[in-house]
């Protein structure tokens, strides 16, 4: 794609887009919905964060360096892990947190190395223009998937505690006893990715593809990237979630194959 093909917005054009937010702000104000402040703050944050990242990426792209690329991806990964802890609707104990971190680091590293080196074959391998945005997409989707997996696993272990113990009483291993909960957690983690693959191209055009087309790339070339990315995302989410679930269910049991904290008073 050439620079001239890309449609660059003028400052005025961009400012016109803020009319949407002004309308939204007026509506919530008139309706008395107490979200005016949130709308302003989130719009400001989005604007400032994207401007900063735009300039940062411009500098990084102009002076590509392997360490800088890796540090940025590691920062994104760290932030994603932190976000999983924050976004989960349930209290996550320290051992589950550790398994989230291990699964994210392992799953994302394996997938990114395969995707960037075998599928995309970047030259140089640290080319930040591809490495960083693709890394971002993979990390972001893994984060969403694992958040859903964490929620479902913890809720399942809490709500189906009696069933897990019932299976243990019948001589099940901890893995067998938590089998259905693990499967449910995997399904719930994978469902958004599977759904988005099914609807892709018909219900919506994915963001990266849209971006490339707007920037002047041929739709066919954009589609090829999008297919590769979707496969990479599906692979990463499943690897990360499988590693997580495989490690995390064990944290609910002790070395005597007992559910932790199950002492009761009768």
């Amino acid at each position: 794609m050439s620079e001239s093909d890309a449609i660059d917005l003028t400052l005025w054009q961009l400012l016109f887009a803020y009319v949407f937010i002004v309308i939204l702000w007026i509506i919530v104000r008139v309706k008395g919905i107490p979200r005016e402040k949130l709308i302003i703050i989130s719009t400001l944050r989005m604007t400032v964060q994207l401007i900063l990242v735009g300039y940062l990426l411009m500098i990084v792209f102009e002076h590509p360096h392997p360490i800088v690329t890796i540090v940025i991806v590691l920062f994104m990964l760290g932030f994603a892990i932190y976000n999983v802890f924050k976004r989960a609707n349930v209290i996550i104990n320290i051992s589950v947190k550790k398994t989230v971190a291990v699964a994210m680091v392992l799953g994302i590293s394996i997938s990114m190395i395969y995707f960037l080196f075998v599928v995309l074959q970047l030259d140089p391998w640290y080319n930040p223009q591809l490495f960083i945005p693709i890394g971002g997409m993979i990390i972001g989707n893994a984060m969403t998937g694992i958040t859903l997996g964490v929620n479902q696993l913890l809720i399942g272990m809490r709500e189906q505690k009696a069933k897990v113990e019932g299976a243990l009483m019948l001589g099940a291993t901890p893995k067998e006893a938590s089998h259905s909960i693990i499967n449910e957690a995997f399904d719930s983690a994978m469902l958004p990715t599977i759904n988005s693959m099914v609807g892709m191209g018909i219900v919506f055009l994915p963001g990266m593809m849209t971006g490339q087309i707007i920037a002047g790339a041929s739709p066919v070339s954009a589609v090829k990237y999008q297919i590769a990315i979707m496969l990479g995302v599906a692979g990463t989410v499943s690897i990360t979630v499988i590693i997580f679930l495989h490690l995390a269910y064990k944290t609910f049991f002790n070395h005597r194959a007992q559910l932790q904290e199950t002492k009761q008073n009768d």
């Binding site: 009696a162 069933k163 113990e165 019932g166 299976a167 243990l168 009483m169 019948l170 001589g171 099940a172 291993t173 067998e176 006893a177 259905s180 005597r256 194959a257 007992q258 559910l259 199950t262 002492k263 009761q264 008073n265 009768d266």
Partner: protein, 216 residues
């Protein structure tokens, strides 16, 4: 068969020495909150004591693999655990989980009949009533190759007549197959009638002491 020594679970129970004989029916009685269920859970290794030892056939159970142990000492909880699927699925799940070969439909029907549960094997287990689920859980236990059956008030959801029939049938099964049964019950008459030995948890309870103390 089972023996406990200086067993202590903080704030719940303390037992110096208790023996459960093989091929006998032992009833566990005691007030609510006296630690009866905790005692059964200790024997099934669903929980560990804070102090003391439990021996199964003279061997400290902490030296045994807990999963293998639970296949030899199985437990039926007070609220029956029903897994998704049919009555047949629920009968077979115990055998699958304890690594046994599944039995035939006619054998499954036999154990259902013994527990006075005349239901189709293809019926969804969730459609059973509370009492029927309890009998299904007992029938499931009968299909296991366990040596010891720990039953936590297995007739709590049954009417008196059915309870007597079901418990008598289960006791007969235990006796004829030379197994050991340990059962929690509130029914002292029942305990007197079927038990070869009785353990009164009131005398081992720490929680009752504490409750009485705090009432003063």
């Amino acid at each position: 068969m089972l023996q406990v020594e200086n067993l202590k679970v903080n704030a719940i129970l303390e037992m110096d020495q208790v023996k459960i004989e093989a091929n006998k029916v032992t009833c566990i009685i005691g007030k609510s909150g006296s630690g009866k269920s905790t005692f059964l859970r200790l024997l099934n290794q669903l929980t560990s004591p804070d102090e003391g030892n439990i021996y199964f056939k003279e061997q400290d159970i902490t030296e045994l693999d807990p999963i293998q142990l639970r296949r030899m000492i199985t437990m039926v909880p007070q609220t029956p655990i029903i897994f998704p699927g049919t009555v047949r699925d629920n009968l077979l799940v115990g055998q699958t989980l304890s690594g046994m070969d599944p039995t035939t439909d006619s054998q499954l029907m036999q154990v259902l009949n013994r527990m006075f549960l005349n239901k189709s094997l293809d019926m969804p287990a969730d459609d059973l009533s509370g009492g029927e689920k309890q009998r299904l859980a007992l029938a499931r236990a009968m299909l296991l190759s366990a040596e010891v059956f720990l039953l936590d008030e297995p007739s709590s959801a049954l009417d008196n007549t059915t309870a007597t029939e079901v418990i008598d049938a289960f006791t007969a099964f235990v006796k004829e197959s030379n197994k050991t049964m340990v059962m929690i019950t509130h029914d002292l008459q029942l305990a007197e009638r079927i038990a070869d030995a009785t353990i009164d948890m009131n005398q081992y309870s720490l929680s009752l002491d504490r409750k009485e103390y705090s009432n003063e």
